[in-house]
């Protein structure tokens, strides 16, 4: 049976993942973790939510289990199922159950993509009980001490049919992410893409101009991730304007006028 769940488990790394704090998010997350509170990370695509969770997992010394949510995700996919192995039936924990048992930071990415009946499953884990009912085993698992449930959610998703229900939202403390200030974004760029600070700064300023068109020809906001891609292409000796077109312009719009105008703006920096 094909699995519909994409879950990755990351053991605590030797080296800290690169993360540049933008505000008090690190202190907030630590406080939530120690108080055993679930955390909701809000922010646009590509602003660093996943990297932040990786960093916090390293900082707190806990393993990280990441689940990319989608509308086919079922309760069994999260909790677990029996499998036939060597003519025997063997229970296989799902990623959520693994997280509860191991005391891992369990990260459900883009939770609004999951069906509502699946989302309800996490409710008992998010209040003082911290339990996970596993019906097929007839058990209620008590979450280990290190367990921390983290959800990510993009409020700019703009779909009335895919919203996080208030009854779910109110179970989490929320940390809001935006795009970093130009100086910090340039620092991130020069570290991640390994480009000169000067190029990183130009890319960040260009990014700022492109973001001015969000909602005005561009549906989505330009992510820091795409800026890093552009820097990486430049670092690989791709001509700057070609890199900008491939990494910043084409992924954002199919509209020829928008593409041309953005290319003209890119020309102002890299022409």
């Amino acid at each position: 049976m094909a699995s519909k769940v994409t879950a990755t488990t990351t053991k605590t790394k030797q080296r800290a993942p690169y993360y540049l704090p933008l505000g008090n998010e690190v202190a907030l997350f630590e406080a939530a973790y120690h108080a055993k509170l679930p955390v909701l990370l809000k922010g646009p695509t590509g602003c660093g939510k996943t990297r932040f969770v990786e960093y916090m997992s390293w900082e707190l010394g806990r393993p990280l289990i990441t689940v990319a949510c989608n509308e086919d995700l079922t309760a069994s996919d999260l909790v677990g199922r029996y499998l036939i192995i060597d003519d025997d039936t063997v229970w296989q924990d799902g990623p959520l159950t693994q997280g509860v048992r191991q005391g891992a930071i369990t990260y459900l990415d883009e939770i609004v993509e999951a069906r509502n009946d699946t989302v309800v499953l996490i409710h008992p884990l998010t209040d003082h009980r911290r339990i996970l009912p596993v019906d097929k085993l007839g058990q209620q698992l008590q979450a280990s001490n290190g367990f921390c449930l983290v959800l990510s959610y993009n409020p700019g998703y703009q779909s009335v049919r895919k919203e996080l229900k208030p009854s779910t939202r109110q179970r989490f403390i929320s940390i809001e992410f935006g795009f970093p200030s130009p100086e910090k974004e340039a620092q991130i760029m020069s570290h991640e893409a390994r480009v000169d600070y000067d190029i990183a700064r130009k890319l960040v300023y260009l990014g700022g101009k492109i973001r001015n068109l969000t909602g005005q020809g561009l549906e989505d906001e330009l992510s820091t991730r795409l800026l890093i891609y552009a820097g990486q292409l430049m670092q690989a000796d791709i001509a700057p304007l070609v890199a900008c077109e491939a990494a910043l312009i084409q992924p954002l719009s199919d509209d020829r006028d928008v593409q041309r105008s953005l290319l003209e703006v890119a020309n102002n920096y890299f022409g």
Partner: protein
């Protein structure tokens, strides 16, 4: 038409058959009037059109007859219609219109020679209009470019170079066409596009560098301060010219620091510009032109008398400071004063009547971009809009009569209003009168091709909603995943689950949408495309209706306006239970700007209507062109009430989404609708496209 000549009647039928009947009406009436005035000429004209009919579109034909109707019958007898038609076929419509107007004003007695372009002036004018680049041809790219640079804070306005722009800090004014440089092996469009780009970027640099913020907090006041300072001099236009000469250097340095990639483009323009500098008319202009060229090219392209050289050198050395990041507008002012003093010592002449062309920009562009002169009494934007409103209302009076569906009863309902001062509701404060909107007899035709495209796209979207639902009690197929999992569970000692089937079924959107349209008088203002906001909105709504019809979504459309708290009118253009058809189209067609907009009351009413629907997801699209505004309902009071109404709607499960047709993206919008729950449509001519995209996105 054309009584008495069967051959021409047939030809006329062949011409009009190319177009839909309604569209051919656009020129048929004018053709008839022309025939009544000058039958012989009209025969000739129709014969000429017949030869070219495959190349002509409706707009060109309409223009053809309109232009001819402006000529006296005695002149019509003398002219050949062929060159007139040729001009329409070879020039963009706007340029052709200018060429005709110029000829009519100056060459009425020799129009045939003018139209045939045997007159030297006529040929030169025609040549000037035919080359160059129209801003409208690149409108979208230029607007997106400007929005990216400015953050959308300023609206681009294209004006003919012979007009003057009323100063408005919210506008960035460009010539509607540039033809500054001759064709260079097919690259003239590139160069002229670069020039447009330079104009936008250069002007943006002026604003960022604070040119119009001298001793002021905003651009309008700063511009006025500069004008007042110019007027303190004996020759205000001269000091203004000299000031801009230096201030351009400072703005340009700012531009190149911000956009280092612009250097190559600048050099390209400079290399072209040096050959096309205007000829100075006297010694004073010669000195200033030499100063300009020294500042930009480090030398002049003409001989400069030795006695000037020291003065020029001193001014250029002092101007170095302008290229520093720390330079301020005060530095340009100090240098302008010094140069003005030098000019006073060396040259004697009458005061200038207009500023000199001391800029790298084409002269006409410089004039358009310059701040106002004192005494110009620039009209306020509101005044312009009101002029537009009046013009529109006149059209309405003379237009098709509207009828009202009297069969539908009108109700009056009372709604509370939130008073943020006392933090409590004013109970039953507003009286809302609901009724059915009036209808017109005729309905404008939509572009059938586009309608089909929209319907196809949304039918496709509807098909996407067909999904195979798994783990069902009954179904048309076995759910293999569930079956395998069930078997495994049974081997583990658990009972076999019952939900083992899959079923292909429509993923019920279970959604109803209400569209609430602000019909206030401000929707009479004109968009850059020349239509009023309400005209653009009603066309966009027609397309949206086609889309929703294809999607089979349950929807209703309401509009509202009013005058005071006891007279809030809300009209149903389409109710939830009505089928989209001619009646809805006629009601949309009858939409006209009315009075004020008391948003909170209208939002509460439509929320109430939506609560009667069973759908699980309820969406309210609020289309408005600006702030809520009514008697005793302004500023923060109105905003807080509208915000409260949106919150109340959310509280009962109605999701409100704002579509704000205001080019200046007001800051209050986010607070009213909440983050991610609104969209600001700055380019109103794209409203239909934006509305369709938005609906698809929010309901996916």
């Amino acid at each position: 038409m054309l009584n008495g000549n069967i051959a021409y009647q047939r030809l006329w039928r062949r011409i009009t058959q190319r177009y839909l009947f309604a569209r051919s009406q656009a020129f048929s009436n004018d053709a008839q009037t022309l025939f009544e005035r000058a039958p012989e000429f009209t025969y000739r004209a129709i014969k000429t059109i017949g030869d070219e009919r495959r190349r002509l579109d409706v707009e060109q034909l309409r223009e053809f007859f309109e232009q001819l109707l402006l000529l006296p019958p005695r002149v019509l007898k003398q002219i050949d219609p062929k060159p007139v038609l040729d001009a329409l076929l070879s020039l963009p419509l706007e340029q052709a219109r200018r060429w005709f107007n110029f000829g009519r004003q100056r060459f009425l007695d020799r129009l045939n020679a003018y139209f045939s372009r045997t007159e030297e002036t006529s040929a030169a004018t025609y040549e000037g209009l035919a080359r160059g680049l129209s801003a409208y041809a690149n409108e979208h790219v230029l607007r997106y470019y400007s929005d990216a640079l400015t953050g959308g804070g300023r609206a681009l306005k294209f004006l003919p170079d012979d007009s003057s722009a009323p100063f408005n800090p919210q506008w960035l004014v460009l010539p509607d066409r540039v033809a500054a440089y001759p064709a260079t092996q097919g690259q003239d469009d590139d160069v002229h596009f670069l020039l447009f780009k330079w104009l936008i970027t250069h002007e943006q640099s002026h604003r960022q560098a604070g040119t119009y913020r001298w001793n002021a907090e905003d651009d309008a006041q700063g511009g006025a301060n500069l004008s007042a300072w110019f007027n303190e001099f004996a020759d205000p236009r001269l000091i203004e010219s000299v000031f801009h000469l230096f201030e351009d250097v400072r703005a340009e340095a700012h531009l190149l620091r911000q956009y280092p990639g612009f250097q190559a483009a600048r050099e390209r323009l400079l290399s072209l510009e040096v050959a096309f500098r205007p000829h100075p008319r006297d010694e004073r202009e010669r000195f200033l032109e030499a100063l300009l060229q020294h500042l930009h090219w480090n030398e002049a392209n003409f001989r400069v008398p030795k006695v000037w050289q020291q003065a020029l050198k001193t001014l250029c050395q002092r101007a170095v400071v302008l290229r520093e990041p720390t330079a301020k507008v005060e530095d340009s002012i100090a240098l302008a004063q010094a140069a003005y003093a030098q000019l006073g010592k060396r040259f004697v002449g009458p005061p200038l009547s207009a500023p000199l062309c001391l800029s790298l920009l084409p002269y006409e562009a410089r004039l358009l971009l310059a701040p106002p002169h004192p005494g110009d009494a620039p009209p306020q934007p509101q005044t312009i809009w009101m002029q537009g409103a009046d013009a529109h209302l006149e059209d309405v009076d003379g237009g098709a009569e509207a009828t009202v569906d009297t069969a539908l009863p009108a109700h009056t309902r009372h709604y509370d209003e939130w008073d943020f001062h006392s933090l409590q509701y004013r109970l039953k404060w507003c009286a809302l009168h609901e009724g059915c909107a009036p209808r017109t007899e005729s309905v404008a035709l939509l572009n059938r091709h586009q309608v089909n495209q929209v319907r196809r796209a949304f039918e496709w979207m509807a098909q996407e909603d067909w999904v195979r639902q798994k783990r069902q009690l009954q179904g048309d197929d076995i759910d293999v995943d569930a079956w395998v999992e069930g078997l495994v569970d049974r081997r583990a000692g658990l009972p076999l689950p019952e939900k083992l089937y899959s079923q292909q079924s429509r993923n019920q959107r279970d959604l109803c949408a209400a569209i609430l349209l602000d019909q206030s008088d401000s929707t009479a203002r004109l968009t850059p495309g020349g239509q009023s906001v309400i005209e653009v909105e009603r066309e966009a709504l027609r397309y949206l209706c086609e889309a929703l019809d294809a999607l089979h979504d349950e929807y209703a459309i309401f509009s509202y306006s009013g005058e005071g708290r006891t007279q809030v009118d809300c009209f149903a253009l389409k109710t939830f239970d009505e089928v989209y058809g001619l009646k809805t189209q006629q009601r949309l067609e009858a939409l006209r700007p009315l009075s004020q907009n008391r948003d909170g009351c209208a939002l509460r009413h439509v929320t109430r209507v939506m609560l009667t629907r069973q759908a699980r997801t309820k969406l309210l699209l609020h289309i408005t062109d600006g702030r809520p505004w009514d008697h005793d309902y302004t500023q923060r009071y109105a905003l807080e009430d509208a915000k409260r109404a949106v919150q109340e709607a959310y509280g009962v499960g109605v999701k409100v989404f704002g579509v704000v047709c205001d080019p200046h993206a007001p800051a209050y919008v986010k607070s009213t609708y909440g983050a991610g729950r609104y969209v600001v449509v700055k380019h109103l001519d794209d409203l239909a496209e934006r509305l369709l995209g938005l609906y698809r996105k929010v309901t996916r």
